[in-house]
């Protein structure tokens, strides 16, 4: 499979990069909070979590290297299929953490069906929700190329 070329407006991207970076930092501790680990001894549990942590760290590094690239917006972003998969997983993690940290009061069915009335949210949460939607759109875009 060939590389994926993504083009996005620079000003549009600028609105998301820094807020997403802050959200990533703020919610880092939530990344493995809901993982269902099979029964086993303490060492097994520790290794399980460490493996997931290192895997996510690698995905987030790819995500920030590509999405945070200052050239993105001015010229197409070129991703290999492996990089696209990392961005997909990183975006999924960010969406899960955003939901847990900021949108926990939103009912599952409302979030799932995209029925959340953005105007009903306080301004800060509106920005968070738009970032959540942006990540989903990015995932859809990448999935359409994979």
């Amino acid at each position: 499979m060939g590389d994926i070329h993504l083009s996005m407006d620079g000003e549009f991207m600028e609105r998301f990069v820094e807020p997403l970076r802050k959200m990533d930092e703020m919610t880092a501790s939530l990344a493995q909070s809901k993982v269902l680990i099979p029964e086993g001894d303490a060492l097994m549990r520790q290794l399980w979590i460490e493996h997931l942590r290192s895997s996510l760290a690698a995905d987030m590094e790819v995500f920030w290297t590509l999405i945070g690239d200052k050239r993105f917006g001015n010229e197409p972003l070129v991703l290999s299929p492996a990089e696209a998969e990392s961005v997909l997983r990183a975006a999924a993690s960010l969406r899960m953490r955003i939901r847990e940290a900021f949108l926990a009061d939103v009912e599952d069915i409302v979030l799932e069906k995209g029925m959340l009335d953005i105007q009903s949210l306080p301004p800060d949460l509106q920005k968070v929700y738009v970032s959540y939607i942006f990540l989903g759109s990015l995932q859809e875009l990448l999935l359409s190329h994979l």
Binding site: L36, P38, H51, R89, R95, M96, E112, Q139, E140
Partner: protein, 107 residues
């Protein structure tokens, strides 16, 4: 799961979803483990289908059947077999941020 703009195609042609069963020979004394994926309101349907294809090499149709089962019933058994391999699959699904767990069959 979140539908977004994703369309689920070909559902009319599908039969009931069945988990993949490991083909390895097992004796009666060996416990059988199943890998379950639980529903979540965050991950996109198209994403979940892609993950099933990637992790289990499922066809699009089979991956969609399991995704629909997760969405409709709250969970789907996506693989059945020996523990070591089941653990590997659970961890891989968790790396993809799906809510997956290991369960002893009939236990």
């Amino acid at each position: 799961m979140t539908k977004f703009r994703t369309k689920v195609v070909g559902m009319n042609e599908q039969t009931e979803a069945a988990p993949e069963v490991a083909s390895a020979t097992r004796t009666q004394t060996e416990p059988v483990w199943q890998v379950l994926v639980l529903n979540d309101p965050v991950n996109l349907m198209s994403y979940v289908v892609k993950v099933f294809q990637k992790v289990f090499s499922f066809s699009v149709q089979r991956a969609e059947r399991h995704m629909i089962e997760v969405h409709r019933d709250g969970q789907s058994i996506v693989w059945v077999g020996e523990r070591e391999r089941a653990e590997m699959y659970v961890q891989e699904l968790q790396q993809w941020q799906l809510t997956a767990k290991l369960e002893r069959q009939n236990g």
